[in-house]
Amino acid sequence: MSDQTHMPVEHDLAPGEEEQHSVGERITGYVVGLALALLLTATSFFIAGTNLVWQPSIPVALIVLAIAQMGVHLVFFLHITTGPDNTNNVLALAFGLMVVFLVVGGTVWIMGHLNQNMPPMDQIMQMRQ
């Protein structure tokens, strides 16, 4: 092994771009993605209306299924991979997700506490009298 690794002159992949595949393989990728997404969607709609499972688990299941389906879309439709030619795309995605979680998680957290700690207005008025 040489300690000088000559990087091949190869460019990063643009988001949404696939590595060189034949048309047949690319179509297969989309078909697999569509089948998985339809399956997850059907499961979500089934779970939401069923009495078969423990009721408090339904919201958790729905969120997990939604995240799984977003993953399927990212991999099969947007072709985000873990390959070295995709590092920039993944890093941008990771930053975006961080902001999303800060915004949504932070809002729900803070507003939940505000609701808990603030009695409704009529109760405040009673306390003042």
Binding site: H6, A14, G16, I27
Partner: protein
């Protein structure tokens, strides 16, 4: 270890970091364009996340108006979801056809995508019109405000996407599969797939979680 090969560079690379990049120059325009658009899409998703956060906070503030479970029709939402999913698929087919420069499959894929998108918009518009006519417009309660703004924002994106889709068909018709047209097509495909991802969040959080409350 072939030491001889490194002798000439021993001073230039004293720590033997070892990676000698044969500078490939700037990335091709296709990569740069799509990456820039990817960053825009992520910022768009951050914007959607604000609407999601507002909805999550306000979903219970019905001010005596209807709750989500009273106004959502799961059958319509299921049809909308299937339409968007299939349109994402046909959009993928159209972008493959564009890459291999096959006009027939490109037009067919784009046309089907357009029809599915229009069906989605029609169902959504009917739902909104129905709600407003029953007096459950966006001004009825904080819950309905956040509902209309989140779902309506997604609907606006889909409308813009359909305009863009028709523009792409016209451009391919007028200019053929030129490099710049193909770049725009690539960005359009990214946009359309990203809208589908946002819709996954919408139907899960708003319609399915909301109808259980």
């Amino acid at each position: 270890m072939s030491m001889t090969a490194t002798v000439g560079r021993a001073h230039a690379d004293p720590h033997h970091i070892g990676l000698v990049v044969e500078h490939p120059g700037p990335a091709p325009k296709r990569t740069v364009t799509a990456y820039g658009f990817w960053v825009f899409l992520l910022s768009d998703i951050v914007m959607f996340s604000c609407f999601f956060a507002a909805y999550a906070v306000l979903a219970d503030q019905t001010a005596g108006g209807p709750k989500g479970s009273e106004i959502f029709e799961q059958r319509n939402v299921a049809i909308e979801t299937v339409c968007l999913l299939l349109s994402s698929f046909t959009c993928g087919m159209a972008s493959i056809a564009a890459d291999v420069r096959n006009r027939f499959w490109f037009y067919l894929g784009m046309a089907v995508t357009c029809v599915l998108g229009l069906i989605f918009l029609a169902i959504e518009f009917r739902e909104f019109a129905d709600l407003v006519s029953r007096g459950y417009g966006p001004s009825r309660s904080a819950f309905l405000t956040s509902f209309f703004s989140l779902v309506g924002c997604h609907g606006l994106h889909v409308s813009a996407g359909i305009l863009w889709l028709l523009t792409m068909m016209a451009q391919v018709f007028a200019k053929g599969f030129r490099a710049d047209v193909l770049r725009r097509m690539m960005c359009f495909a990214l946009f359309w797939h990203a809208l589908d991802i946002v819709w996954v969040g919408v139907f899960s959080v708003v319609y399915l979680l909301g109808s259980g409350v």
